[in-house]
Symmetry: C2
Subunit: 224 residues, 2 copies
Amino acid sequence: MEIQVMTNILDKNDRIAAEVNAIVSAHGIFCLNLLGSPGAGKTSLLERTIAELADEVNLAVIEGDLFTAKDAERIARQGAPVIQINTGGGCHLDAAMVKGVLDKLDLYSLDMIVIENVGNLVCPAEFNIGEDVKAVVLSVTEGEDKPLKYPLVFKEAGAVVLNKVDLLPYLNFDMAAVKADVCSIHPEAALMEVSCQTGTGLAGWYDWLKVQIANKKAGCWRNG
Amino acid sequence: MEIQVMTNILDKNDRIAAEVNAIVSAHGIFCLNLLGSPGAGKTSLLERTIAELADEVNLAVIEGDLFTAKDAERIARQGAPVIQINTGGGCHLDAAMVKGVLDKLDLYSLDMIVIENVGNLVCPAEFNIGEDVKAVVLSVTEGEDKPLKYPLVFKEAGAVVLNKVDLLPYLNFDMAAVKADVCSIHPEAALMEVSCQTGTGLAGWYDWLKVQIANKKAGCWRNG
């Protein structure tokens, strides 16, 4: 009975996600679903990305949070269009929430939409929200055991961004182990070591995004 | 319809939680539900706590994880009885899961059971699992905006443990702001600054636990 309800929810969600992806694809917009624990650095990564790619990429952000518009305010200060979705306590975004705000964005002008999901390494990984690809941010302060403990999000993510590497000298963090575990779960995932504080490694992230955007414009991305 | 299903789940869960609490209370055992993001330091806090209180407190741990027994293995190495619950991808523990493993513990010998919940700042806060009180671990690396972004867990928690303060010199973290926000959400919460790496501040945590255990033995704790 519970399984039946869940199946219905996911089936309905997947249909709406396909709608969302069809809409953004009609505009050639690359759509990224950005995941990670609370405080992993998702918003910081977006702040740097907006500033760095301002001249090359027309980028908008959809911010998902339980409450508050704190992250949306940070994004707005960087000068990018941003829409806030508050889930009112809900643990993940779903496709209907995204569909409900799409018409607030000027889709004709955009190259990329980044949807920053609710800070949660579990539930958001289960829901397609219309993205072309998911990326996950893992802070090295969270410890190297996280890929094996939360495998779904790493299996789903096309890119794994290991953030806060500026703190590595003060942590016991086994970088080789985390890389081996990510590779065992998802061998094709792009893996980057970055610091949104110092800027280390972010060039690789920007390059990865630009490849995705170019692929989308060339019609290479297919959802699902 | 969805709301109805959720109401039924929570009602059933609360009845089983009351059963769990009645069982542990019959033995005078203080039961703590330990919450926090992935990598906040819940297991590290327990490792230190087991070692420090070994001579004074008979303590067992129930470990909740999606997959793996990594945390249970760390606890077992400290010499405490430990039971692993794997949710198989589920984002929180519920009371039935806890009830299902209680008879694997020697309840006659225990002063305290700590249930380490799934690493998730959202969903576990919604479920009573039979505990006397919840505590939340927040790593300062997660940023000072977390109480306002995830208010329920801070509203529910009797103690807020701010962990990894040894990293404060390398972070932009506004300690005054986080304290003010926790106080605005839950003025009665005990608030501690600790480092499970260096041991800073942990004496206050041990004292808080000992008071809870003494109160429980004196019959002061009531669930719900």
